[in-house]
Amino acid sequence: MSAFWPLLVPALLGSLLWLWRPSAAVSRAVSLLGVVVLAAWIVQLFAATSGGHVLVHPLGGWQTPYGITLALDGLSVLFLALLITLLAVVLLALRPGAHGDETVRRAHPLLWWLTFGLSGAFTTGDLFNLFVMFELVLVASYLLLQVPGSARARAAALPTVVLNLVTSLLFLAGLGLLYGLCGSLNLADLTVRIGDADPLLRRAALGMLVVAFAAKAAVVPLCFWMPATYPTLSAPLAALFAGIMGKLGVYALIRILPLLQSDPLLLDGLVVAGALSALLGVLAALSQYEVRRLLAFHSVSQVGYIVLGIGLATPAGVAAAIFFTIHHSLVKSTLYLVADELERRNASRDLRAMAFRRSGGASMAIIFGIAAFSLAGLPPFSGFFGKLALFRAAYLEQTWLALVALLVASVFTLASMLKIWQFAFATRPGDDQPISVASGFGGGTALLIAALLILGFGFAAGPAHERSEQAAFGVLEPTGYVESVLSADARPASQAGGR
């Protein structure tokens, strides 16, 4: 089992669909087939990385740490699995009947390039390669931002692009400093060498990386691109962006934790930024009336929870952050898919124009309820366990202010979900008759699968948390990772024949 092949499938499918430009129905069939193939691979990878095993693939047969190395550990596999799950749901939800043929045809090749970039970022063991994959993801996302083609979408995309360009440059400058300091950008090699570097310069280099990743994850104060663009995207794409693309920054922050552990000040900075995000994000969300703007500010708040857990840098904190990331991705994508239905059925993005009978009635209300309760953290749902784990981690570290911030933010989370409920689902006098909307195959299926995933994740919280703990341990005690990468066989089987 190699870490390499699952990367090729999205790249091939992306190119194929881009050059071929088949009809929307054929695109969907090909893409869904691709998802099935990838899912089968990832199940195998899950088994291959259990027990802290790391799959290493030195590209081109270069001896590590000199070439680009792919290294797949428990953390990578969790994020890959999350990516494929969300991609499947979004591919089902994005359908010609509801969103238009042209949107579907334009989106599919780009979605596969986005997937290629994301899976590359989750698999790579080299920081410069991570930067290249980041750029690939961003380019695909810039183009996806333009898919709706409306004037508002075009205008909203530009500030986002500029912000991401600047943070990418910051990332790159940090890499330059880091290479100058340590002479390597291979993560395993860096982990060994970082201790010898000059502390002040090291802080500057790592600080640049942290700020860049935090901006991509939308942490206060670098979060405002997210609420500006997510309302104008095609809604199922917003579900994928919020679910997994925003989590790329989170993944990168967890990935460089072995380096960050050398500098407690940066970690404390993450805790403070996380607590502020959690509070300010949810307060901003409460004041919004556009559903997807509200949800986007919410993401800022929830990413705050995650970043706070990462900043604690304890096994409990990081495990909680990983668990919370998966929970939040599933729930937030579901909420965006519900928002998609609400917006199209009510023919408005604004909550004030919505009414129960137009919003899809009881079935939509139930699915929204499951996602909303889970987000608010009520017990049998996954949000409860995620928050419990985070609160416990904050309690163990005795970061009382952070704990209070999280608790207060939780209350407001519930309030903001009630706000959507109040406007979209509570019956009000003057309800009009339903507006007839086209739906097409897959809309109800996608929502149902999404809701079942949330429920399932809630019931599987125990094993999932165990898996998160393993992944967190692999990051915080990187000896195993470092040894696996640095002692990797320089010439894998596929390359050995040539010489």
């Binding site: 508002r152 530009l158 500030p159 692009v161 990418s168 330059g176 556009e290 993005r349 086209a438």
Partner: protein, 130 residues
């Protein structure tokens, strides 16, 4: 040599940040370009600037040559930033051709002023006009 590069990177970044803070998209795009040049200089200086020969000549000792990796980094970075600058400029050109504002903060914050049919077209159909 390092001093000159450091000062150049500083000046380029400062000018770039000043340009970034402008309203007009063209200036912002130029600002991004300036900052990317500064970053390229930083990347380049991660190697051994001006103290070692860059070329492999007969009889050269590997340990006395310039590290080639930062140059590969810079090359990659240049390609990426060129492509993205083109994207920004294309966005600017599209907006200018359609007679829309070329300010960075031109995006409306809500759908006020749109008819329900226009909103429905955006949410459902999409895809009209490229």
């Amino acid at each position: 040599m390092v001093g000159i590069v450091a000062i150049s990177a500083f000046v380029l970044t400062a000018a770039g940040v000043w340009m970034l803070l402008q309203q007009r998209l063209l200036r912002v795009a130029l600002g991004v370009t300036l900052i990317s040049h500064a970053v390229n200089l930083i990347l380049l200086s991660a190697g051994s600037l001006g103290t070692r020969p860059p070329l492999v000549v007969p009889g050269a000792v590997a340990a006395e040559l310039t590290d080639p990796v930062p140059q590969a980094f810079v090359l990659t970075a240049i390609v990426i930033s060129m492509a993205l600058t083109l994207y920004l400029l294309a966005g600017l050109a599209t907006r200018a051709l359609r007679g829309e504002s070329t300010d960075l903060d031109a995006a409306p914050e809500s759908d006020e002023g749109l008819t329900p049919d226009e909103i429905r077209a955006q949410l459902g159909g999409g895809g009209q006009g490229a």
